[in-house]
């Protein structure tokens, strides 16, 4: 038998039976929608903070009795608030408001003065800080336009996020639309069910993004500084040369940048931290401009990830330096090719860590991580010692059913202590299959990371390998059994 035939047969024999996953298509569709929302996260994160300031300012002014003559603040009804929820093990239980109520209409009443996207029954979601106060009838129409349905008949056993859209009215009344993006995928509107909870949530988010985009930015300093730069849309593929030199640009990063953000480039996923670098930007500019120009095009056909450094200037303009860990292993700086894409990346990460050391993490906890895969965009930045939320992600080896269980705070602290004490640099990895949970977590800075189990050890994003102590393994086993 030739090598090739032997290999063909060997590979065919080696592959185990796939797990049964009737929800694969729906899961991919949900993930696609999440990816689309994440693409607008930069807008949400930036102008969301702005709008949050605006709403907070209005609330503070109203709470202070309002200024004389400030009728718009004094007369406007306060934005609706979210119902209180309590997560148990990372999951918010069902509430009567998540079920149809025969005493209510079967459509969202018109005339709402505000609406909020709130936590619903299911795993936790990232709730926008600001209320929607524009195009509320449009949102009601979008939801009311979804096809009505009977009680759900086809459900899956998966667990996922749930939300509530709470409409507030001038008389103080509220109307709740409850959506579940898992299981039966129900969308409860008053007394009945409608299809497509994803569409209802997207209708809200689309309008919120538009509202935020339409609002002036009160944080713009008087000198016209546009604030930290935002990332451009990432290309899906860049192996075909979407990013390339532009003859009309300078071959070096212009001086005067006041912020720089690390953005995804070709070869997703790239590293895309939530925070911009605003200190010591000139050092990074010098590093990029100090890279030797690449004269020869000694390239390979190797594939790999890429990144973009977006430099921001006070007049709102941006300048991109594109790093490619594939092909010619180059950095594209305006009209010039330069070498060594690793150096600017390492420099940015070092500078961002240094900047964070002088700051406190955001007051709001980052969104709970999801067991949605590996290669989180920020994991190369994430330090397991900073983990604030984490969960075990498990797949039943026989049924293929995925499940997850939140790691309680005390248990997480114990695991982190063990990691810091016993994780081994350059510990090595042997890829072998052994059933066991991975650990997905998020740091106080919003960096997500996943620690995958290889044989009997976890691989950390910084290259260390952690073999859980007996006490840590007992925690993992206990939580796994509970899940």
């Amino acid at each position: 038998m030739t090598d090739e035939n032997w290999l063909r047969e060997g590979l065919a024999d080696a592959v185990p039976e796939p797990p049964i996953n009737p929800d694969r298509a729906r899961g991919a569709e949900r993930l696609a929608r999440r990816r689309r929302r994440q693409a607008t996260a930069g807008v949400l994160a930036t102008v969301g903070a702005v709008a949050g300031v605006a709403v907070l300012s209005a609330t503070l002014a109203a709470g202070d009795g309002g200024k004389a003559g400030d009728r718009s603040v004094a007369d406007a009804p306060p934005p609706v608030t979210c119902p209180q929820t309590t997560a148990d093990g990372g999951v918010v239980p069902m509430d009567p408001i998540d079920n149809p109520d025969p005493s209510l209409p079967d459509a969202v009443p018109a005339g709402a003065s505000s609406a909020r996207l709130c936590q619903g029954a299911g795993t936790t979601i990232e709730v926008p800080a600001d209320a929607l106060t524009t195009d509320l009838d449009g949102l009601a129409d979008a939801i009311n336009g979804l096809e009505g349905s009977g009680p759900p008949e086809v459900c899956t056993l998966d667990l996922g996020p749930g939300y509530r859209i709470v409409f507030g009215y001038g008389d103080g009344s509220t109307f709740v639309v409850s959506g579940q993006l898992y299981g039966c995928h129900t969308l409860v509107v008053g007394s009945g069910y409608r299809v497509d909870p994803e569409a209802a949530e997207q209708a809200f988010l689309d309008r919120l993004v538009q509202q935020q985009a339409d609002q002036p930015d009160p944080t713009d300093p008087p000198d016209g500084d546009a604030g930290p730069v935002v990332c451009p849309d990432a290309p899906e593929f860049d192996y075909d040369g979407i990013d390339d030199v532009q003859a009309d640009l300078p071959g070096a990063v212009p001086d005067g940048a006041t912020s720089v953000r690390l953005c995804a480039g070709g070869g997703n996923p790239g590293i895309e931290p939530a925070d911009a670098l605003t200190t010591d930007v000139a050092t990074l500019v010098d590093v990029v401009n100090g890279l030797p120009e690449q004269d020869s095009q000694a390239c390979t056909d190797e594939l790999g990830p890429g990144y973009r450094l977006a430099f921001g200037y006070p007049d709102g303009s941006t300048f991109l330096a594109v790093g490619q860990f594939y092909g010619c292993q180059k950095v594209i700086v305006g009209s010039a090719y330069r070498t060594n894409p690793q150096l600017p990346l390492d420099t940015f990460i070092d500078l961002l860590h240094a900047q964070r050391a002088t700051q406190t993490p955001p007051a709001d906890l980052p969104a709970a991580p999801a067991c949605d895969g590996y290669g989180h965009p920020t994991e190369a930045l994430a330090d397991p010692a900073d983990l604030v939320l984490a969960q075990l992600c498990m797949v039943d080896d026989k049924t293929g059913r995925a499940s997850m269980v939140a790691i309680p705070e005390a248990d997480l602290a114990a695991l982190v202590d063990d990691i810091e004490a016993n994780a081994v640099p350059n510990g090595g990895v042997l890829r072998c299959y052994r059933p066991g949970p991975s650990i997905s977590g998020v740091t106080a800075w919003g960096d997500q990371l996943t620690m995958s189990l290889q044989c009997n050890a976890y691989v950390l994003p910084d290259g260390r390998v952690w073999t859980p102590s007996d006490a840590s393994q007992a925690i993992i086993d206990r939580l796994s059994e509970a899940g």
Binding site: E4, L7, R8, G10, L11, A12, D13, A14, V15, P16, P18, P19, N21, R24, A25, G27, A28, E29, L31, A32, R34, L146, D196, E198, A199, D240, G267, N268, P269, D301, E302, L303, P305, D372, G373, Y374, G375, A380, V395, D397, G400, N426, G427, G428, V429, L430, R431, C432, Y433, R434, P435, S438, C455, N456, A457, V459, P461, G463, V465, T467
Partner: protein, 173 residues
């Protein structure tokens, strides 16, 4: 609404859901050979499908599978690149998991495959598991046919000299 609406003329197997139902397991098998992990394989398939979802209507059922496959393999290569996964070579390997005798041969081949660089492993899976031609493999990975040939040749040389597989051959002798 974002969901694809199925017209009366659209057959069920020509929808995105129909494609996933028909070809999802095949994609998972390739993903497993790339990742050698049940969960990672599912993650990889889901990610590739999610990245491709919005292209379904534009590409149509005829060309969708090559598109998804290209997304899946390029995603794999970007995920598992050593410097980004933080993995380091070592002379001391951690203890291996417990396996039964019926899985030894499988584990030997999988272990040998795992020793290949990502690009070579992707080429091997496409050529010898998916049975693609060199040209088709090149198209999936977006590289030249010559690169496929050289990667394949290096991969076979590495596999031939792998201690995992040599030991099996010795035993068979």
């Amino acid at each position: 609404m974002e969901q694809a609406v199925m017209s009366p003329d659209t057959r069920a197997d020509e929808t995105f859901d129909g494609f996933v139902a028909a070809r999802g397991d095949a994609l998972w098998r390739s993903a497993w050979l790339l990742t050698t992990d049940h969960q990672l394989a599912e993650d990889l398939v889901q990610t590739a499908l999610a990245k491709s979802f919005r292209a379904y209507d534009r590409i149509g059922p005829g060309g969708f599978e090559p598109y998804v496959r290209r997304v899946m393999f390029t995603t794999y290569i970007s995920w598992w690149r050593r410097k980004w996964r933080g993995e380091r070579p070592t002379e001391v390997l951690p203890e291996t998991g417990v396996t039964g005798p019926d899985t030894d041969a499988r584990n030997d081949l999988v272990a040998a495959l795992s020793g290949l660089p990502n690009g070579q492993r992707a080429v091997v899976v496409l050529r010898y598991f998916e049975d693609l031609t060199e040209q088709q493999t090149a198209d999936v990975l977006g590289i030249k046919v010559g690169t496929v040939k050289s990667q394949c040749s290096r991969a076979l040389t590495t596999l031939r000299s792998s201690p995992h597989l040599r030991r099996e051959e010795d035993n068979n002798d």
